[in-house]
């Protein structure tokens, strides 16, 4: 068996005390950084890059990768406890995670997140080990037209993610698309809606918007409510930390649906990991018997997106390593760490440096296991954060938000973006509008427009290109189906009722 001997080589690489400690260091730093609102993996990885000059390339990559998925994991803890997601995919987790935490079920929520992350990663790792050369081809099969269709699909799904009315969800997606227009037009280089501010020429900083509409808004919301210090009053018992059997049972099926979805989407450079969580959540709201539970603390609402986004996180290493094409800045940094040592990611990487590739895959599994083992006892500590009185907790949260947002681009301007979006977010929360679809609208809107324009350029203005390409046509068809599903369901139910 080829795969088994490859994996054996990988584990042989990782199971040395030195490599294990780099892996442990990576996931621990990543997790701690992820828990802090707004500070992403990028800040940590770019600071640690010079250290990797002196490490073995394989170990360097294992450490940096650990920071990457550790941070993603940590960010979901912060989203559940304090409603401060730093990425659009963590925003999905916050949709049901934060309500769960308000219901006093923060412990079980984190436990399920931990389990879901582990399950998602495991599934993705197995897929990657078995099919990595095939998977790389998938990334290349997606051209501009396909990406456009994928963005449409992602946005349609996002609109259904909003709890409550779908009209409001669509409205928020459109609001996100409009905000995404701010920046530089890709085909002409013209600045749009920048109001002469040079800081806006690359668009709004996503983390700043997210921290405004989630974290800062949450603080204002709590101020406007009656200030009751529930802090010391509540002591969490160990039994309350662990989900009940019924909870776990509820989480299993969503995890099984989300894992393949996340792995597949994660393979697409740049876009996949963001969409994965939204699509997984959207799928759950579609298959659920009672979709009104979502947004109020549904277990499926955290299990599915967490599984998907962790599966996607591992999947996103494939195009990076086997094509040498990084999907985002964090991946670019990891490529850099390899390049400096003369290890060239690309089609030949697996053949030339099997120990690095398989070692990394093995380290994913070990790193995720470390996160699992580390976090089960830590859940009690995380939950205790909630017992800090608000008057101490919220100033700290606000300060950390400022530090985190500043660290993204070293930009003071972004702090004003947080303030502006805190005001907007507060208004939105009064109007009961969900900010999560808006965030995805901002991210995907830019990519959707870019890819639409490119696809039209390449087809010399022929819109039929979107129907002629099979992947593209299927995705657009699915999007249409998603849109008319609620209508159709209502019709079916009406017919059913009139018959009865």
């Amino acid at each position: 068996m080829d795969i088994l001997s490859n994996l054996a080589l990988g584990f042989q690489e990782v199971l040395t005390l030195e490599t294990l400690s780099f892996c442990l260091f990576g996931v621990t730093v990543g997790m701690l950084i992820g828990v802090l609102p707004g500070i992403g993996a990028m800040a940590a990885i770019s600071m640690l890059l010079p250290i990797t000059f002196y490490l073995e390339p394989g170990q360097a990559l294992i450490m940096l990768a650990g920071i990457y998925y550790g941070a993603q994991y940590g960010n979901s803890i912060a989203s559940i406890l304090l409603n401060v997601p730093g990425t659009p995919s963590a925003a999905v987790t916050a949709l049901d995670g934060y309500p769960l935490s308000k219901l006093g079920k923060a412990g079980p929520a984190i436990f399920i997140t931990t389990a879901a992350s582990f399950a998602g990663s495991c599934f993705a790792i197995v897929c990657l080990a078995a099919f990595s050369p095939v998977i790389a081809g998938v990334a290349l099969a997606f051209g501009s037209a396909e990406y456009f269709a994928l963005m449409v699909f992602g946005l349609v799904t996002a609109s259904t993610v909003a709890p409550g009315s779908q009209i409001k969800g669509i409205a928020m997606v459109v609001a996100g698309l409009i905000l995404g227009l701010v920046g530089t037009d890709i085909t002409s280089g013209t600045f749009r809606f920048t109001f002469g501010l040079i800081e806006l020429t690359d668009g709004l900083t996503l983390v700043a918007v997210a921290m405004g509409v989630f974290g800062a808004t949450e603080v204002i919301n709590n101020l406007s409510r009656k200030m009751h210090d529930r802090g010391a009053a509540r002591r969490v018992r160990i039994r309350e930390l662990i989900p009940t059997g019924a909870d776990m049972k509820q989480a299993v099926k969503p995890m099984m649906r989300a894992a393949p979805l996340g792995t597949f989407l994660g393979v697409l450079p740049g876009a996949g990991a963001t969409i994965a969580a939204f699509v997984a959540y959207g799928l759950e709201t579609r298959v659920a018997k009672d979709r009104r539970r979502f947004g109020k603390g549904a277990i499926e609402g955290i299990a599915a997106p967490e599984t998907a986004n962790n599966a996607a996180a591992q999947g996103s290493f494939i195009p990076t390593l086997s094509l040498g094409i990084p999907g985002d800045a964090v991946m670019a940094l990891m490529l850099g760490a390899l390049l400096i040592h003369g290890v060239q990611p690309g089609p030949q990487l697996i053949g030339d440096h099997p120990e690095i590739f398989w070692g990394l895959l093995a380290s994913f599994w070990i790193g995720n296991l470390m996160l699992l083992i580390m976090n089960i006892p830590l859940i009690g500590v995380w939950v205790r954060i909630l017992s800090i009185p608000y008057k101490y907790l919220y100033p700290c949260v606000l300060m950390l938000i400022c530090v985190g947002v500043y660290s993204v681009h070293n930009s003071g301007f972004d702090l004003f973006v947080v303030v502006a979006f805190a005001a907007i977010g507060y208004a939105m929360s009064i109007a009961k509008l969900s900010p999560a679809p808006m965030l995805l609208g901002i991210v995907l809107g830019v990519m959707m427009e870019d890819n639409l324009k490119r696809a039209m350029l390449l087809s010399r203005g022929d819109p039929l290109v979107f129907l002629e390409r099979p992947i593209c046509a299927v995705l657009l068809g699915l999007s249409l189906l998603m849109l008319i599903w609620p209508l159709g369901m209502r019709l079916v139910r009406r017919v059913h009722r009139s018959r009865a």
């Binding site: 085909t187 280089g189 094409i325 800045a329 670019a332 060239q344 089609p347």
Partner: protein, 327 residues
């Protein structure tokens, strides 16, 4: 001691501390430069080629100067946010700027810059050149430049660029003009996406960086027809230069160099230049540069300043001749 005297003492301490701080920063020449950390500002994201080169140089210079050289990423607006920040910093040598070829293009393409590249900055020294490979997708079936030009005359050639107003776009336009062919530009966001496009055969041509393109040239997906630098690169020794192929003066050097504000004292610039060139002369620096597809390139502050002025001139001519517009 009552509360008000405590407060007064606190205020006094703060005032003295602030005063001392001001005095110290006001006397830069009195002590040996540098006596506090130096910031190296660069205008692109972590993980980009300038970022990696900047971090390698910063790491080495920290050791030579005996003070940490801290990299600060201020991406945005094609590097002009970073340049604006350094142009507005104190001219004391504590704010270094890693300029790249794009900074010699924006003075022509952008009318709203808040700094003047030629007037506000002076060179410390060149860091490296990042050669660009002229790669075409293998399915085009053109193994050399002559056959490519012939094929391109039939039309239907798309080329990718990492952004409008990039050195890749200007160089490709200049090439097309010289070769007498017409091609359609398809803009992507960033070099990674633009490289991906030519590998996937969505476009047929791209001026790519060596590290992302070379493995695909070796695997046979891409063909490298030329290199954009005046000389061949040791990373791809078989690829001829544009000049060798008869395109005289067709050079697109994606250079990376350190700059400071033009009012910075000469002795400070000399110290920085010496430290930079010490780092560049080390074999391990050269090796790391080569691994990331860059060629080390050292010069003096005056040579760099003059080189920068020449580049602004060169790209202005290309833009005028090709009649390109950017707003």
């Amino acid at each position: 001691m009552n509360a008000s005297t405590t407060r007064r003492n606190t205020v006094k301490t703060i005032v003295i501390a602030l005063g001392l701080g001001t005095c110290l920063t006001a006397l830069p020449a009195a002590a040996q430069f540098p006596e506090s950390p130096v910031t190296l500002v660069l205008g692109s994201t972590p993980g980009s080629a300038p970022d990696i080169l900047g971090r390698i140089v910063a790491e080495g210079m920290s050791e030579v100067l005996g003070q940490p050289v801290v990299v600060e990423n201020r991406q945005g607006a094609n590097g002009s946010i970073a340049a604006t920040q350094v142009a507005q910093a104190e001219p004391d040598g504590y704010s270094l700027m890693l300029m790249t070829a794009v900074h010699s293009i924006t003075p022509t393409t952008r009318s709203d810059l808040e700094y003047d590249f030629n007037e506000d900055f002076r060179g410390v020294g060149m860091v490296a050149s990042v050669p660009l490979l002229f790669v075409v997708n293998n399915e085009l079936g053109t193994p050399d430049m002559a056959s490519f030009v012939e094929r391109a005359r039939e039309g239907d050639i798309f080329y990718s660029v990492p952004g409008i107003g990039s050195i890749q776009q200007l160089a490709t336009e200049e090439f097309a003009d010289r070769a007498g062919i017409e091609m359609t530009v398809v803009p992507y966001r960033g070099g990674g996406n633009a490289t991906n496009a030519v590998i996937a055969n969505e476009v047929q041509l791209f001026f790519a960086g060596i590290p992302p393109a070379l493995p695909h040239v070796e695997s046979g997906a891409l063909t490298a027809l030329a290199i954009s630098t005046p000389e061949r690169s040791p990373a791809a020794p078989d690829v001829p230069t544009m000049v060798e192929l008869g395109y005289d003066g067709l050079v697109a050097d994606n250079w990376h160099a350190l700059y400071v504000r033009s009012e910075t004292p000469d002795d400070v610039v000399a110290t920085l230049s010496e430290a930079l060139n010490t780092v560049l002369a080390r074999p391990e620096t050269a090796e790391m540069f080569l691994n990331v597809g860059a060629t080390p390139w050292a010069n003096s502050p005056d040579e760099q300043t003059a080189f920068g002025h020449g580049e602004v001139e060169r790209w202005r001519n290309v833009i005028d001749e090709q009649g390109l517009t950017f707003d």
